[in-house]
């Protein structure tokens, strides 16, 4: 369960291989990951473990590779032409970049929430039901149960239960983002990748999403990319700092923010650049 903070405050430099951490199940094991946009090497030999049932925050200045890294975890980067991935990304021990891996199944297990809310131009209900319908839930009653459960999990049910047939585009930005979270939860993923989910939202909506993340981490593994350091320190248990495609440092959140081991992390956290 959620015992991350009690784990020994270990410190690892990027590129190092982490020995297994006491008692925490490892969800993702990334080993020597390189990513190229054409000739540009956007990720440089990144190695890190991501533990289940906690929030791992990835911080760093714009263009540091943190979003690219996140999108490597569900092979979303493949959609961009002229890109190349090298190294290993193990999901529960299985390399997701192997030829035999079913990408569709991978993405069902590893859900994603995007920077800008991107509901489909359909009703609230149909948005959440999209995934279950795709993966074959024919019975209406079953579908309704899943939709309600997902919306409750995304703390949106009370606000939308009477407007299920209304267009999702009529919701506010914060509601839309929670709808997208509900939509992702409806396919019952194991991991939730969140790519700056609050950057397009107002402070109140941001607060609600952060509350929601704290609840969701009980059941899901969450990887959160954010350029808001306060958000990382508020919600995450572990934090990784990216700079120019390099994972400079990763460790328990408090340690990263209070006693960073690398001068560059220290500079960034103190606001000297980025």
């Amino acid at each position: 369960m959620a015992t991350p903070v009690s784990a020994a405050p270990e410190v690892r430099r990027g590129g190092d291989i982490l020995p297994d951490q006491a008692a925490l199940p490892v969800k993702f094991s990334i080993r020597g990951l390189d990513f190229y946009y054409g000739d540009h090497r956007a990720l440089k030999d990144v190695s890190v473990d991501i533990f289940a049932q906690q929030i791992t925050a990835l911080i760093g200045p714009s263009g540091c590779g943190k979003s690219t890294f996140l999108r490597c975890l569900n092979r979303m980067n493949e959609l961009i032409p002229d890109t190349r991935t090298e190294g290993q990304v193990l999901l529960e021990g299985e390399d997701i970049y192997q030829r035999s891996v079913d990408v569709v199944e991978l993405r069902r297990r590893v859900g994603m929430v995007f920077q800008r809310p991107n509901p489909f131009p359909k009703s609230v209900f149909d948005n959440v039901a999209y995934g279950p319908r795709l993966h074959g839930t024919p019975r209406r009653s079953e579908l309704e149960a899943i939709v309600e459960r997902s919306l409750r999990a995304a703390a949106l049910w009370d606000e939308v239960k009477d407007v299920m047939k209304r267009s999702a585009l009529d919701l506010s930005g914060g509601q839309q983002q929670r709808l997208c979270i509900a939509r992702a939860l409806a396919v019952e993923p194991e991991v939730l990748l969140m790519d700056e989910p609050c950057s397009a939202l107002d402070p109140i909506s941001t607060f609600r999403i952060e509350e929601l993340m704290a609840e969701l981490k009980e059941r899901y593994t969450i990887v959160l990319v954010t350029h808001n350091m306060y958000q990382a320190s508020r919600v995450s248990q572990r934090t990784g700092f990216f700079l120019s495609g390099e994972l400079v440092e990763v460790g328990v959140t408090e340690q990263i923010f209070e006693r960073p081991q690398d001068q560059r992390t220290d500079d960034y956290i103190r606001g000297r650049f980025g």
């Binding site: 569900n74 979303m76 959609l79 032409p81 569709v104 199944e105 993405r107 069902r108 859900g111 994603m112 995007f114 800008r116 991107n118 509901p119 489909f120 131009p121 359909k122 009703s123 209900f125 149909d126 999209y130 995934g131 795709l134 993966h135 047939k165 209304r166 267009s167 999702a168 585009l169 009529d170 997208c180 939509r183 992702a184 396919v187």
Partner: protein, 321 residues
């Protein structure tokens, strides 16, 4: 405050000069806009006036009558109305699936090195003058259709109304095919642009939920772009309804309303092109004007319906199902 009420102050005078410029600009653009409306109304009025003798002579029977006999001064326009609507419908039936599929390929599936040249060629199709299509249709397609398609079809399924009649070559089928080829580039090019404009976030949302490529296109990209795709189809329909030259060359020009694809037929635009220059009888000219008026009105109605359809789809886009 004093300054704000002082009419004679230099600052306010200069404002007024701007106002004059703005007003002038408004009037000029307004005049041009109204001139366009006037052109449409005048065209409608003149056509209606010259069609008046035919309307008075035949009444509504002009639209429903099937006899078109300039010698006997009997004029019923139904075969032309039918020919125009039927050929356009058939052309859409053929061109929409192919065009939309082509657009999907070009915008979603094709590798980049291929989509450029293919797009260019598709757009080139739209630039070919319609008389060239007509000539190709008459010299190449029609003989081939007659020998390889119509004769066997008629032999095997000749008792079906759809394939009855004699396989002449020039026919409703030939017209629909030529029309389909002509409107294909419009549908493909416009729908391709529409699909390309679908935000990347929509595709990624679908993929991240575990959609396959096909499911992403079918359940996220196309629904998002459906208003635009519909617009592309309507644009194509407009072209098909009014197309004159190519259709006239291959449709056979027989004023007969028939469901058969093998029979020659006639369209409104074709009869105008064929007969207007030689029409001498007063009633004949009036009847042709009546056909023109009908084409005008039908185009109007089709466009209106299409607009309504687009509006409805756009407003339902967010709603349930």
């Amino acid at each position: 405050m004093k300054q704000t009420t002082a009419v004679g102050s230099p600052r306010l005078r200069s404002r007024r000069r701007h106002d004059v410029g703005d007003a002038l600009f408004l009037r000029v653009t307004q005049a041009f806009a109204l001139a366009m409306v006037a052109v449409v109304l005048l065209a409608l009025g003149v056509t209606a006036r010259s069609a008046w003798p035919a309307v008075r002579a035949f009444g509504l029977g002009f639209l429903t009558g099937s006899t078109w006999d300039p010698v006997a001064d009997k004029f019923g326009a139904w075969p032309f109305v039918w020919g125009t609507l039927y050929s356009s419908f058939l052309a859409l039936l053929l061109a929409v699936p192919v065009g939309v599929a082509g657009a999907i390929f070009l915008s979603e599936l094709s590798p980049r090195w291929l989509s450029g040249p293919v797009s260019f060629l598709v757009e080139l199709l739209a630039a070919i003058p319609s008389v060239v299509y007509g000539l190709w249709g008459l010299l190449v397609m029609v003989p081939w259709l007659r020998d390889r398609v119509q004769a066997p079809l008629n032999g095997a399924l000749g008792n079906w109304p759809l394939f009855s009649g004699a396989p002449y070559g020039v026919s409703m089928m030939a017209a629909a095919l030529v029309l389909a080829i002509m409107i294909l580039p419009i549908i493909t090019a416009v729908a391709r642009d529409v699909l390309r404009a679908v935000p990347r976030e929509q595709r990624e949302a679908a993929l991240a939920l575990g959609s396959t490529r096909w499911e992403t296109i079918w359940r996220a990209v196309l629904p998002f772009g459906r208003v635009g795709v519909l617009g592309a189809v309507i644009l194509a329909l407009g072209r098909a309804l009014g197309e004159t030259m190519a259709v006239t060359m291959v449709i056979g020009n027989r004023p007969e309303a028939s469901i058969s694809l093998l029979n020659p037929a006639y369209t409104m635009a074709s009869v105008l092109a064929n007969e207007y220059a030689e029409a001498t009888g007063r009633l004949h000219v009036a009847a042709l004007s009546g056909v023109a008026l009908t084409l005008f009105v039908i185009t109007f109605i089709v466009n209106g319906l299409a607009r309504w359809l687009v509006w409805r789809v756009a407003h339902r886009a967010g709603g349930s199902r």
